[in-house]
């Protein structure tokens, strides 16, 4: 039986804001929609930027990649701030318990030497790559056009510094609570020949002023790196007595799956755009082809390093990952060279 609570019923005059009614009709809107759609200023900007007088404060022209209606794309995760931080609080809490467990049981000390070497010499330097990912994504958050995309970029920027912090916390634990492992990894990032191709590629992505090109190049590189480091080594780690590697890697695998959800939707939106679709597909093809070739060349010596240490087929995994990028983009209508 239900109890009868008497409340005053007042008919609302409208169910949401007018810009949402104009798009979707007068239906209740989600918090994602109310906090995102049409929120960016679009017109009548007062002054040209002193730091770049050739464009308006916000403009679709900061990238060759364009959407006729920027709000034709929406985040499949429907992340507005509260949803985003709640999801990330859970992710980081889960990682924190993994790390706590690994430290408490001395799991890093128990790693086979080869896997210790893999953590130290192959994985830890990628904290700097993640930091660059933060900067590239933050730039896209500033210069993108329309909140549905820029919001994804902004959260991705924060995710990347989060990933860098995950790797750094592993490094600190790995160094017995000191910064020694991190210092050695930084030295490798700066000086070790096997990393120089990747560092050069990263620095060149950082100076790309077209945020769309930079994000596509970063994403193509990400797809290789996440397959190479975290996906493909998982099985070998488990059979090779390096369960703690798998336990750490799963958190990055989970994050990257989440990142893919919105990025793959964005590729689709770019290519499906009624006005810019063909131009977008051509631009993505050009940037992704070049980034793929550069990134494969840059990651080959790193994969070789991994193979020399744990012999888990990283070279082959890199080749397969590159093929997967081509297949994935072909799936959304982008033909790589």
């Amino acid at each position: 039986m239900q109890f009868e609570l008497r409340t005053q019923v007042i008919e609302p005059q409208r169910k949401t804001f007018q810009h949402l009614i104009d798009r979707y009709g007068d239906r209740p809107a989600s918090r994602y929609e109310e906090g995102t759609i049409d929120i960016q200023a679009m017109t009548n900007f007062h002054y040209r930027p002193l730091w770049g007088p050739d464009k308006d404060i916000y403009s679709p022209d900061y990238s060759v990649l364009k959407l006729t209606d920027p709000y034709s794309f929406t985040d499949p995760r429907q992340f507005y701030y509260a949803g985003y931080v709640t999801s990330r609080a859970d992710m980081h809490e889960a990682f924190g318990s993994t790390l706590g467990y690994l430290e408490k049981r001395g799991m890093f000390d128990r790693l086979p030497e080869a896997w210790k070497g893999l953590f130290q010499d192959v994985v830890l330097p990628f904290r700097h790559y993640e930091a660059a990912g933060q900067m590239i994504s933050a730039d896209a958050c500033r210069f993108g056009w329309g909140t549905t995309t820029t919001q994804c970029f902004g959260y991705a920027a924060f995710d990347r510094i989060g990933n860098a912090q995950i790797l750094s916390r592993v490094g600190i634990a790995f160094g017995g609570g000191t910064a020694e492992a991190l210092a050695a990894a930084k030295k490798d990032w700066l000086e070790e020949p096997a990393f120089q191709g990747l560092r050069k590629h990263t620095e060149l992505m950082l100076v790309e002023r077209d945020w769309g090109k930079a994000m596509v190049a970063l994403d193509v590189t990400d797809q290789l790196i996440y397959a190479l480091l975290y996906d493909s080594l998982d099985e070998a780690a488990l059979t090779g007595g390096a369960g703690s590697y798998s336990l750490v890697a799963q958190h990055l695998v989970t994050w990257f799956a989440d990142q893919r959800r919105w990025f793959d939707a964005l590729y689709k939106a770019w290519v499906a755009d009624p006005e810019y679709g063909a131009a977008n597909a051509a631009a993505i093809a050009e940037v992704a082809s070049a980034a793929l070739a550069t990134a494969v060349a840059a990651l080959t010596p790193i994969a070789a390093k991994a193979d020399a240490l744990v012999g888990a087929g990283s070279g082959a995994a890199l080749t397969a990952a590159a093929q997967a990028v081509t297949t994935k983009l072909a799936g959304v209508g982008v033909a790589l060279r």
């Binding site: 409340t7 005059q13 930027p49 730091w51 916000y58 931080v85 709640t86 500033r142 902004g154 916390r169």
Partner: protein, 509 residues
């Protein structure tokens, strides 16, 4: 950056934070530092050592997300409960919502702009310490626009004036005051933006810009906005420490920075102060239940706390109080009255309503302002007679705007509240008018910037705003006749009375 020295023992909290943030940075060698950070030289600011930036707070991503998620959970629980219980019926009066209409139209879009441009700092400052602090602020600011929209979303369902806030922010005449303010900051260089927003907006003027809305909410039964205000407080205190660290950092890096920063303080004090004109009238005229007068707020939050506190500390660096601050202090006696009197006459072209202050309200104004009875009460008494005779007054023409602050030229000469103040400059054979010495000073430093301003009245006359008549322009604004004009007899007013009548009859609420 050099390689961190080998640490023989476990990391201290500070070193651990550094390992998780600024140690991620490296000096590039495949591109130049200038290519990587192209925007930090042209303003003439000299930074010798970015590592001297003291992190104003030490939050890591895991701590940030955990803490913020908990805060949002509590906030949204309040919003849901308020909506479910028709909490809007327990406001002091529907006219209170005029303050919130102004807030969502004028202030929330600025939070959004801050979100985007702190992301710019999060990419383009050379130092990893300030970059990460800026990225955190960028996230906080999208939190603020979104939680504000979600907080006010429920009022939008039952009241007019909220429904098209982003569209209006880009177009409406009185909203070009806050919009041009923030566009000015965003179009400045990164260091000026830090001083304009990080320091001036978030520190110097925050208690005058932001807090009056939240206090007004708590005095007028607006539980959601008050809860939002409390929830944003810990974010704001981080932003204040960032702004303070920014100014200290710039001043300590090189003496040559001092005069540049001084001009930015002068400029952004006056620019921000002019935006507070909208808030002064809100405090004194729009809140059914008063919090404090503008005069009292300005005295407490600016004269006592800033001039008597902060600027005493900044004197160490050779920084003096902002130019024309004495005019602002003098103006606190008359500011709100002059602004509201103007808005009263133009509210038929606004998405908020106005009304003659009640007798009780006029007593309060008279008790708080020595010059009210002499200068402003007679205007209202005359207008009461007009209304009694069926002739509520609305201005027919369009006002002339100040080229810099974009407020109608309604302010009076320093020391003479009965003579309109008008300043002007000539630039490239064109004549530009200003409301004050402060605005003229800003223009004269950067005329090539301010001549670009999208001045709403000029734009209407040039035919860029939907047409030549007021109904054309209002349609272009997406304003309906229910959104503005006189409060008494408005749809909000009628609904309010009907709903309360209904509540009494059914015994609900």
């Amino acid at each position: 950056m050099t390689i961190a020295p080998r640490a023989p023992r476990k990391l201290s909290m500070k070193d651990r934070y550094s390992a998780l943030t600024r140690d991620l940075d490296w000096t590039p060698s495949y591109v130049t530092e200038d290519e990587l950070y192209p925007y930090t030289k042209f303003e003439g600011i000299t930074i010798h050592d970015w590592s001297k930036w003291e992190d104003p707070f030490r939050l890591t991503v895991d701590a940030y997300t955990k803490y913020q998620a908990e805060k949002d959970k509590r906030l949204y629980a309040v919003l849901d409960g308020f909506a479910q219980s028709q909490g809007h019926l327990s406001l002091t009066d529907a006219s209170y919502l005029n303050a919130m209409k102004l807030f969502i139209q004028g202030v929330s879009p600025l939070e959004y702009q801050a979100h985007r441009h702190f992301a710019y700092l999060g990419r383009h400052l050379n130092g990893p310490g300030p970059r990460f602090a800026s990225l955190c602020q960028s996230l906080d600011e999208i939190r603020h626009i979104q939680t504000e929209v979600h907080t006010l979303s429920n009022y939008n369902k039952y009241y007019d004036g909220f429904h098209s806030f982003p569209h209006m922010h880009d177009r409406v005449w009185y909203l070009s005051v806050p919009k041009s303010f923030f566009d000015d900051a965003v179009s400045s260089g990164p260091f000026e933006f830090l001083i304009a927003i990080g320091f001036s907006f978030e520190y110097l003027l925050t208690n005058l810009l932001f807090v009056p809305f939240m206090s007004g909410a708590s005095f007028n039964g607006d539980l959601p906005t008050m809860t939002f205000g409390f929830s944003a407080q810990s974010d704001e205190s981080r932003h204040m420490t960032l702004g303070l660290e920014a100014i200290k950092f710039l001043l300590e890096q090189d003496e040559k920075n001092v005069p540049i920063v001084q001009h930015w303080i002068d400029k952004w004090f006056w620019r921000g102060y002019r935006v507070t004109a909208l808030i002064a009238q809100m405090l004194d005229y729009m809140l059914p239940r008063k919090v404090m007068s503008w005069k009292e707020a300005f005295n407490l939050y600016f004269e006592q706390q800033m001039l008597g506190g902060l600027f005493v500390d900044l004197a160490y660096y050779g920084i003096t109080p902002p130019k024309f601050v004495e005019q602002a202090a003098e103006e606190k006696e008359i500011l709100s009255h002059q602004v509201y009197w103007t808005l009263y006459q133009f509210s038929h072209a606004a998405a908020f309503s106005t009304s003659i202050p009640t007798d009780e309200h006029m007593e309060w104004l008279s008790a708080n302002y020595a010059k009210f009875d002499e200068l402003y009460r007679p205007l209202w008494e005359k207008e009461k007679r007009n209304v009694a005779a069926g002739g509520r007054h609305f201005a027919r023409g369009l006002p002339e705007l100040c080229t810099v602050c974009q407020i109608p030229m309604l302010f009076t000469e320093p020391g003479d509240p009965t003579t309109l103040c008008q300043r002007w400059s000539t630039f490239e054979d064109e004549h530009f008018n200003f409301c004050s010495d402060g605005c003229k000073n800003i223009f004269d430093h950067e005329p090539e910037k301010y001549v670009q301003a999208w001045l709403p009245v000029h734009q209407i006359f040039q035919g860029n705003c939907g047409g030549a008549t007021i109904p054309d322009v209002l349609a272009w604004y997406k304003m309906t006749p229910n959104d503005g004009g006189e409060y008494l007899g408005s749809r909000d007013n009628k609904n309010w009375l009907a709903w309360h009548d209904m509540a009494e009859k059914t015994g609900g609420n």
